[in-house]
């Protein structure tokens, strides 16, 4: 019997190129957006997404039943977190004025109101920021957020609640 299984859930390794390439076409921009929202760094976001796809290809077919997009999102979020952690350590040795900043062009597009939100969001812990991005940008249910981040659903809910409260306080301070 010839057995070939379908993409995303499961597919022959020999066909991984077709499926992963299709996923790349379909989801690259969306995943870069997600990484940008977490890291606020377009170049780093693209690197993280590229790495996630290369890893997906290496691990194809996935051992779980569903999940290519979930796998990619989790990989992007985890790598984003690692990048931010490394960057935070590096910043301990870099004078503040040399730390990377958002571009002037980006600032102009965002405007003052949104820059306040950006600053308030950047001040939150990475995990909290990830929860808020998944909830308020991707509109994901808490159960899915919990699954993507490898945390409990109640943790996802409380992170969102606490994060939103902190964000509210910070925005008041910035006014």
């Amino acid at each position: 019997m010839v057995s070939i299984s379908g993409p995303r859930r499961a597919l022959a390794r020999d066909q991984a190129q077709t499926v992963v390439s299709a996923l790349y076409e379909q989801h690259w921009a969306g995943l870069v957006r997600l990484a940008v929202l977490v890291m606020d760094d377009r170049q780093a976001a693209e690197d993280v997404v590229q790495e996630a796809f290369a890893n997906l290809y290496r691990n194809w077919p996935l051992r779980e039943s569903d999940a290519a997009l979930g796998y990619l999102r989790t990989a992007v979020l985890n790598r984003s977190r690692s990048v931010l952690r490394r960057r935070r350590i590096a910043r301990l040795y870099i004078p503040p004025h040399e730390a990377p900043n958002a571009s002037a062009e980006s600032d102009a597009v965002l405007g003052d109101e949104r820059l306040q939100v950006q600053r308030a969001l950047q001040a939150l812990p990475t995990r909290t920021r990830q929860v808020l991005v998944l909830r308020y940008y991707l509109d994901l249910p808490f159960a899915e957020i919990a699954q993507l981040l490898g945390i409990g659903e109640s943790s996802a809910r409380s992170s969102a609640t606490r994060g939103l409260a902190t964000l509210t306080d910070r925005l008041k301070e910035l006014r």
Partner: protein, 383 residues
Amino acid sequence: MNDTESRLRDYLDTKAASVPPTAHGPGLDAELTRRRAAWPAVLAAAAVAVVLALTITFITSDPDKPAPAASPAADGPPQVPYVVTEDTDIPNMGPSTLYDGTRTVRLPEDVRVTGPRMGDGWLAWTRTGRNFRVGILGASGKVRQLGPSRADMPVASPDRKQIAIAHRPNRNETGDRLVVLDAGTGAEDLNIAMPRKLSLVTGWNRAGIWVMSDISGKVELFVLRAGEQTFRPVAVGGLTASFATSPQSDTVVYTTSSAGKKCLHAAELRNGKLDVLRTHCEQGVERAVYPVGSRDGRTMVFSERKLAIDVASGKTTQLRLPEPIESYPTPVFEDETKLLVVTQQWDSKKKSPQRLYRCDVTTGDCKLLRTEKDDTQIKLLQP
């Protein structure tokens, strides 16, 4: 929604829009080349497909079916071709050698053997830069290429005289074609539009050529019957895109999933619908279930539970194996009752060496045939 939520959504949407939806990544070529492989990368860019609807005369009967081989000795060498890949940092990407009886072929880096045997060679797939083509691998290691470039998923006809391929002429996933090639001459016997973009050729049996699409989680199954030039949709509720065909019968085996339950079904196409012959369900199976069936369609295997199921009676036989079955690439039947399986234990991200067993699906007895080195993997091919 309070003010903070509104402002947060507004910021996130605006910031996200700094990456245009039409933005494209650099592609995967460089990334994978760096890791040794050089498979073609992104299917992008647009063009218009050339329509070449030729007369279909593909053969689904099996007049030249070879006489069945004698049943293999319990601990004798595998009776099917197999590929051993060394240094498997990336699956299927390391140096590979094909073994088939007394024949051994060191595979060129750009060649993957997909099986089965065709003439005096094996069905293969090659890639050169961004192009990929099908062909027949000879014993010398050279590939006789067939058909157009940007062709993948080759599937042999039951009589091994034709090859069905998915031809993807355009990088933007449009205009995909199903092409049927004469394996001897390479001539196109059929060239018709695929029913959906990125359709996959999943098998060819006496019922016809089976094609599946899985776009954004929506799985659709189609069949092209002999003598027809239009795909017919075949409705299957809960289909999980895991599907296999029995070349020597009308039987197909597929997996469905619902409410935490995964079911393996054997079915035949009757009056345009799948008539289910046998269903076996298991609860709590987390991993994908890859259907496996004997070439005569009489036995199906639920690899995740190490079960062989007789389609006619429903009798299940537990295969006595110490490790989990490596469910993909799938186990392969050598004959009606002998199943070759590769096992591997995964434990905290560490893998045990792969082991090859021969199991009797009527008794559940399994015999160890070989154990691979740590960084080596074995892939069984259809005979």
